[in-house]
Amino acid sequence: MDFKKLIEQAKLEGIDPVEVYQHMSEEESIRVFGQKVDSLTIAQSGGIAIRGIYNGKMGYCFMEEDSDENIPLILQLIKENASALEVEDASKIFEGSESYPELHNTPNQLTETAMNAKIEFMKEVEAKLATADPRIVQVMTTAMQTVTVDTAIMNSLGLDVSKKESYTVFYTMALASENGDNKNGMDFKIMHSLNDVNVDEFVGKIKDEVVGKLNAKQVKSGPYKVVLKNSAMSSLLGALTGLFNGEMVHKGISKLANKLDTQIFDEKITILDDPLKKDGMNSTAFDDEGVASFTKTIVENGVLKMFLHNQKSAAQMNTVSTGNGFKAGYAGQVSISPTNFYIVPSETSYDELLEKMGDGLVIDELNGLHAGLNSITTDFSLQASGYVVENGKVVRPVNLITVAGNFLEMMKDVEAIGSDLEDQLSSASAPSILFKSLSISGE
């Protein structure tokens, strides 16, 4: 589509300023099963989202058919959607930041790697995992997905920025079975070249995990000392980043509203949102409104220092955008999301955390976060699995228990933080954390 033409015609129709956001993505996704390419997906897709001010109000629309013939329809939808608004929309079209940071990510060589080499690599992993232990009855899937995204934002106030991002995720899932008990386990790697993964190490870790979960039993109900392992801690934190979302704060829905500069968590907790992190999954030089990225301390030694804002929530709360205005998919409106949002790790290793705990539980998996967690009150009761720990050592696996609590309360009473911060596929990550007492339901 000719964006200059779109912008000109929009102005003629009284839509000014106006902005076009373009998103183009290419995807290659390979799945190996039984030493064959079970499925392959090759895709290229994209779309544009257009927004503009009409009679003082912001109208939005999106379009996938990339043709100049759609311009009249686009302008009509913007006018219609703008006219419907009754609440003053504080969204702003932005003229651009003075300067933008440079990222130092490792180039993704896998966009240039021959598909055959990837397939051979995946077959090797699958074969090694399938024979790693007699109790592994199947490698359920071995998959590699490479995505390249081009994003461009252009508006009538002079903003004209673009970026290209590329990532590859590789994952494998194995099924183990013994005496009719099935367990599965998976692991993933964010890769930049096929040499990034030590196959034997990767396979060994999945094998140990999946076989270690076999014959899990419940524990008795009651309060337990619990280490929430990095994976589980990250998913819980990730489901609650809305607490720090400026829009939720403005609407009075976040329980952290009015808590700026007060002690909200244990003083051992420091949380950063770092869009400039090297090779972070969500590293970026600017957000979806064209605001330059910077590293932010959200919680410092337990004290709440700032919220995440886009242009709209910043205007509503008389502050400036923190560069966290992102869309969920190109078609969505700009909401607020963290980038690389993480709890700063300590020096204490995972094994030392278990020693510190002595007797208790490790929980490495939480399920049903979309239903068993109230993201407003932060009350949760979640299906969990993990291990029983006695005298600082793992003694047996546990499943079909629930762990219940309130996130804001438990974060005030943290016994120790681990050193094992690892990249997750979502925006939030955390090291393992030892909590003094969480409520467990089981037998």
Partner: protein
């Protein structure tokens, strides 16, 4: 949309190199959403998604490509690129595309794309009003109005060419009740495969009120106790228990490769003998219904469980090849950006003979769950969970008080066998189900049921 001769040309290219079947899925979807905060329009968005997905089968393997560049040059390129995955002689595949004409089983009276925005806003405002006026304890009300019109054309190398237009409508209300530091949310979101006539059938004001009622009930509820106890789960969205504990594990995507706890169990008892269940994509204008599935097969009513005995799975054609079973017309996807696979449509437990009163009276100490709020399952282990939205503690056969914050967990293989009473008040409810082929509209449903023993994870 693409012409017949264009589809034919692309399909022919797909099977040049040894593929034994090819399919084109073309989709155009118009979406309108309006969001209200406390009765005022806060956001409105609309747009059009359009694209094509091409799939080639080679035995039980498959390759897929999608794009929203639907020029013939690009489609030829995609087809050749995909076909390049195989390197064999062309199989003897000859076909003529003939359009299947059929009678629409889900007639739409008022196409929402023809309705003025003002009328849509009016409906959303009614729902908001219903919630806001319910009680002064209700401090925030969010209403989301959605309508979409999805046009699909499916063609394949069996000569099939078939079209469907799916119109869906949903009105969701989230009410937040606040009292000092306490805050609780209630959600209610009825929907259907209907047009704007849906709002002549449901009362938007009452729908909003229901969300507010739930929020208020929760605000005054005590924390749910923990432990193993009998549980009565009421009709409608209570059916999420069957969806999680059983439904996902009966999808061919898990069963075909032996990755489901119910693989290889056809003809065996997997549930209590009072349990019969179906997946029925044919119910007129239901939220999870359509004329055809996303492979172009007419939807069916499939018996899954009869008197506790496993009778069938939900099968798509590709997994059907592995299982040596025909498609049950359960292949679905969110859009052309997803490879279609076996999914649920409207999946529910059929009526039995027990009364809800008897079920509650039968519990010395247990939980009565009036409404649920979703869950998840690991189909290969069968471990599942789902959360109680509105629950009541029962003592000595009587409802004592509302309780909140509970999750129910269990293992599908185990819990289904413990369903020992099935009621007579079958009702379905609407949800969005997320899985490998994206987020799709599905109905869950059941009459009230009793599970003799379940793990209740409460906070008390």
């Amino acid at each position: 949309m693409l012409e017949k001769h264009q589809l034919k040309e692309v399909l022919d290219l797909c099977v040049e190199t040894g593929g034994d079947f090819a399919e084109i899925f073309e989709e155009k979807k118009i979406t309108h959403t309006v969001n209200l905060l406390n009765g005022e329009v806060e956001k409105a968005n609309s747009g059009v998604t359009y694209g094509v997905g091409i799939r080639i089968y080679h035995g039980t393997e498959s390759v897929y490509a999608f794009s929203n560049d639907t020029s013939m040059d690009n489609l030829r390129k995609m087809a050749k690129n995909l076909a390049g995955s195989y390197n064999e002689e062309k199989k003897d595949i000859q076909f003529v595309l003939e359009e299947v004409i059929y009678e629409n089983q889900h007639p739409i009276l008022i196409d929402p794309t023809t309705v003025d925005m003002d009328k849509k806003i009016e409906v959303a405002k009614l729902a908001s009003k219903g919630a806001q006026e319910y009680d002064e304890i209700i401090k925030k009300v969010m209403v989301s109005y959605l309508d979409e019109r999805q046009e699909v054309t499916i063609s394949n190398t069996n000569g099939k060419l078939i079209r469907d237009t799916r119109i869906r409508t949903r009105l969701s209300t989230t009410a937040i009740a606040m009292d000092g530091e306490e805050m609780e949310t209630g959600f209610y979101g009825p929907g259907a495969a209907k047009g704007f006539e849906f709002y002549d059938e449901i009362n938007p004001y009452e729908a909003g009120k229901e969300a507010a009622r739930i929020a208020k009930t929760l605000l005054t509820a005590d924390l749910c106790p923990s432990g193993t106890m009998p549980v009565v789960i009421d009709n409608g969205f209570g059916g999420v228990i069957f969806h999680e504990a059983c439904g996902h594990s009966l999808e061919a995507s898990s069963v075909a490769k032996g990755q489901s706890v119910f693989a290889g169990k056809l003809g065996q008892q997997i549930a209590g003998s009072k349990v019969s269940a179906v997946d029925d994509g044919t119910i007129t204008n239901a939220w999870g219904s359509a004329n055809i599935d996303d492979e172009g097969n007419f939807t069916k009513r499939n018996l899954l469980i009869e008197n506790g005995i496993l009778k069938g799975y939900m099968v798509d054609t590709l997994n059907g090849r592995r299982m040596n079973m025909p498609s049950t017309s359960n292949s679905r996807r969110q859009s052309y950006k997803y490879v279609t696979t076996s999914r649920m449509t409207n999946t529910f437990i059929l009526n039995g003979e027990d009364s809800l009163e008897d079920m509650i009276a039968s519990m010395d100490y247990g939980l009565y769950c009036k409404s649920m709020s979703g869950g998840s399952v690991n189909p290969s282990t069968g471990d599942f969970n789902f959360a109680v939205q509105e629950g009541y503690l029962v003592e000595n056969g009587k409802i004592v008080k509302p309780v909140k914050g509970a999750s129910l967990i269990g293992n599908g293989g185990d819990t289904l066998l413990k369903i020992d009473m099935v009621g007579t008040n079958l009702k379905r409810a609407q949800g969005m189900c997320g899985s490998s082929s994206g987020s799709i509209p599905t109905d869950v449903g059941q009459p009230a049921i009793r599970v003799s023993s379940m793990i209740v994870g409460g906070r008390n």
